[in-house]
């Protein structure tokens, strides 16, 4: 009983420092977004903004044509997340259940090899390829996000699937389930914690990606939020207040998604642990 009431000061200090490392930049972002031009450059990052300059949001909104960019970003991110989770889990399922076949193992290593090919290396051929196929638009970016995510996500799913006992599936088959039914009714729900992990990774990757949309999307009016925000960063001028207002608007969906999915992930993980 006594042990329970004792506070672990070292852990508290460590956690406080960790919390501050998130809260301090967030505080600076929020206050900076509300500062006037003069306050934004006065060199006091921690000062409170006064008078509050809500115009920054309006200016960032029109400068970047924010709603349209947000629409494109959401489109790309949603499709990439769904595609990543579905394709990788299906692929991993096929791999894990056919592991004894040699060509399946070869396919796995082949896909895994893509882990060693980062996008910048093949950027220029991809630009030409997508251009020739008429995929120089957000759809092309979705396809590439899924293709480039496939190896890492499959790795996660296969590792997890190996721990799922084959007997579970055999029982489903005894009840007359087809392969697809087994997957949808039994395996995919079991994969939920891993799906959440994959979804979070691919959400962050797609939402924050700068290079791929900037290179692949030909029509500038279909650019994503990180790309249109590039105009705030130059060598010669620093519109901190306007850019931070814009960053805050861009961050909001990511933070919201993180808050919600994080709870879900933790629930999923503990559920798996109790079993």
């Amino acid at each position: 009983m006594i042990r329970h009431e004792r506070t672990s000061w070292s852990a508290t200090v460590l956690l406080s420092v960790a919390a501050l490392s998130v809260l301090v930049p967030l505080y600076v972002t929020v206050t900076m977004a509300l500062k006037t031009n003069q306050q934004a450059v006065d060199g006091n990052a921690f000062s409170l903004p006064w008078p509050l300059s809500w115009d920054n949001f309006a200016e960032a909104w029109t400068l970047t044509n924010f709603p349209r960019a947000l629409g494109v970003s959401v489109f790309i991110t949603v499709l990439a997340v769904v595609g990543n989770v579905l394709l990788s889990s299906l692929f991993a399922f096929a791999l894990a259940r056919n592991w004894e076949r040699r060509w399946v193992r070869l396919a796995f290593y082949y896909v895994l090899a893509a882990l060693f090919v980062p996008f910048p290396v093949v950027a220029l051929p991809q630009v030409q390829l997508t251009g020739n196929l008429g995929l120089d638009n957000p759809v092309g970016v979705v396809a590439l996000h899924i293709a480039f995510g496939l190896s890492f996500n499959t790795l996660l799913f296969t590792a997890f699937l190996r721990s799922v006992p084959a007997e579970l599936e055999e029982s489903a088959r005894l009840d007359g389930a087809t392969t697809m039914q087994t997957f949808w009714r039994l395996v995919f729900p079991l994969l939920a914690p891993m799906s959440a992990t994959v979804a979070i990774f691919s959400f962050l990757g797609s939402w924050n990606d700068f290079m791929m949309p900037s290179l692949i999307i030909a029509d500038p009016s279909l650019q994503t939020v990180p790309v249109v925000q590039k105009i705030f960063q130059t060598q010669f001028s620093s519109n901190y207040n306007i850019s931070f207002a814009s960053y805050l608007m861009a961050m909001a969906p990511a933070i919201l998604a993180y808050v919600f999915t994080q709870r879900w992930v933790i629930a999923g993980v503990t559920q798996g642990a109790i079993k």
Binding site: G71, I231, F232
Partner: protein, 417 residues
């Protein structure tokens, strides 16, 4: 090879449709679409208004302002913007050199450009028999000074090197930092002390033409080289270092803007892009500009310039006619004057109005007389980390060996080319 049109059309429509954006309004419009690429952030609202005005005034084309396209990818894909209006530099000149920009020499607007200004573009690279870029706005850079501090200490604008050193000593004796240094950001040194010292002492285009000719032969024994020609200017540059405030080595560009706007130094070696930043802190600051005198002859003074914006039309544009019409619109005299007055630039045509802003008008006579030079730091390809070399020299590295290093880099790059 282009794919069947149906697939491209389908995917494009799928993308546009799925995003749920009301593009249908544009589809029913049969005006030619001209994509106008300009990425100078401060001028985006200006160009947005201009484009709206143009679209209203005529009905043949619809111009769309594009601030986000990646040029390398667009050219590679074969779908470059129809009109470009950006900073002209070594990187942009690469496109021109490879012949992807169209010849504009038959446009009447090309004939209005001042020959000395057109030559600035040619110093980067040329394509035989073509005029590929039309300079739109020139930015001139020189020493920015705080008029109030100069008046307070009874210092006149110096016109000779000794006069400049004397002015610095006067300020220092009075406990005022003569120059504000932001050595932490090495580009501020390259465009400032480094370029001003060289531009005031050597013939910049002549030197670069000579070492380009020498190519791989540039080295310790070549007739022209960085170690030979730059040594004296660099020694002069080092003489200026003690006149900066004590913590110059740890200050960055935004720190410098704040401190200078608060009157913490008498002079600041920056270009016109800084005026907007200074005005954020103190919009009423009374500032002037003068070229850094490097010799004892006032007639040797020159200002540093760069092609802040230049217009071009890619060969790959499918809207050549409409693009040319828009370029002609941009280059109307009153249009250019209006832009330059607002963004503190200098006109590029023979009929351009002179600058009237007190912060830059003292440079007008130098500009009119053709007493200007492109910053040498702009003429060295980015593959050579020149700004880093400049920073080491300012912070005390051996001049000879550093410049010999630049020579070696230059020769290596020429070998690779």
């Amino acid at each position: 090879m282009p794919p069947p049109l149906s697939r491209r059309a389908f995917l494009t429509a799928a993308a546009a449709g799925a995003v749920g954006l009301g593009l249908s309004g544009c589809a029913s419009d049969d005006r030619a679409i001209v994509r106008f690429h300009s990425s100078k952030p401060e001028s985006i609202p200006y160009f947005r208004e201009l484009v709206a005005r143009y679209n209203q005034e005529q009905s043949a084309a619809r111009v769309v302002l594009d601030t986000a396209t990646n040029l390398q990818a667009a050219f590679l894909r074969g779908s470059p913007p129809d009109v470009g209006c950006l900073n002209y530099n070594m990187e942009m000149a690469r496109f021109m050199e490879r012949g992807v920009l169209s010849d504009l020499s038959d446009m009447p607007e090309a004939g209005r450009i001042r020959p000395e200004v057109q030559q600035l573009a040619d110093q980067y690279a040329t394509f035989p028999g073509r005029t590929n870029v039309l300079p739109f706005s020139v930015a001139a850079e020189s020493v920015i000074y705080n008029r109030a501090i100069f008046d307070e200490h009874g210092v006149e604008v110096p016109t000779t090197w000794t006069g400049f050193l004397a002015a610095c000593e006067t300020f220092q004796a009075a406990g005022v930092a003569p120059l504000y240094g932001t050595f932490k950001d090495n580009w501020t040194l390259a465009q400032g002390m480094f370029d001003y010292a060289l531009g005031g002492l050597i013939d910049v285009p002549e030197f670069f033409a000579a070492i380009t000719e020498l190519g791989t032969a540039v080295g310790p024994d070549s007739p022209r080289s960085f170690q030979r020609d730059f040594l004296e200017p660099m020694e002069r540059m080092r003489e200026l270092v003690p006149f900066h405030q004590a913590d110059a080595a740890s200050r960055a560009y935004p720190d410098g803007n704040l401190a200078f706007a608060r009157g913490e130094a008498a002079m600041y070696l920056q270009g016109p892009w800084v005026f907007g930043e200074l005005a954020k802190t103190d919009p009423d600051l009374s500032l002037g500009t003068f070229p850094l005198p490097m010799t004892e002859d006032p007639d040797d003074r020159k200002v540093r310039v760069n092609l802040d914006l230049a217009l071009w039309i890619p060969e790959g544009s499918r809207q050549q006619e409409a693009a040319r019409d828009f370029v002609a619109y941009l280059m109307r005299a009153e249009q250019m004057d209006d832009f330059n007055a607002q963004f503190l630039g200098f006109g590029t045509t023979t009929d351009a109005a002179p600058a009237t802003d007190e912060r830059i008008q003292d440079m007008q006579e130098f500009y009119d007389d053709g007493r200007f030079y492109l910053g040498p730091s702009q003429l060295v390809p980015l593959a050579i980390p020149l700004a880093n070399h400049v920073q080491s020299m300012v912070l005390g590295a051996d001049l000879r060996s550093t410049l010999a290093g630049v020579d070696a880099d230059w020769a290596r790059l020429a070998f690779r080319a």
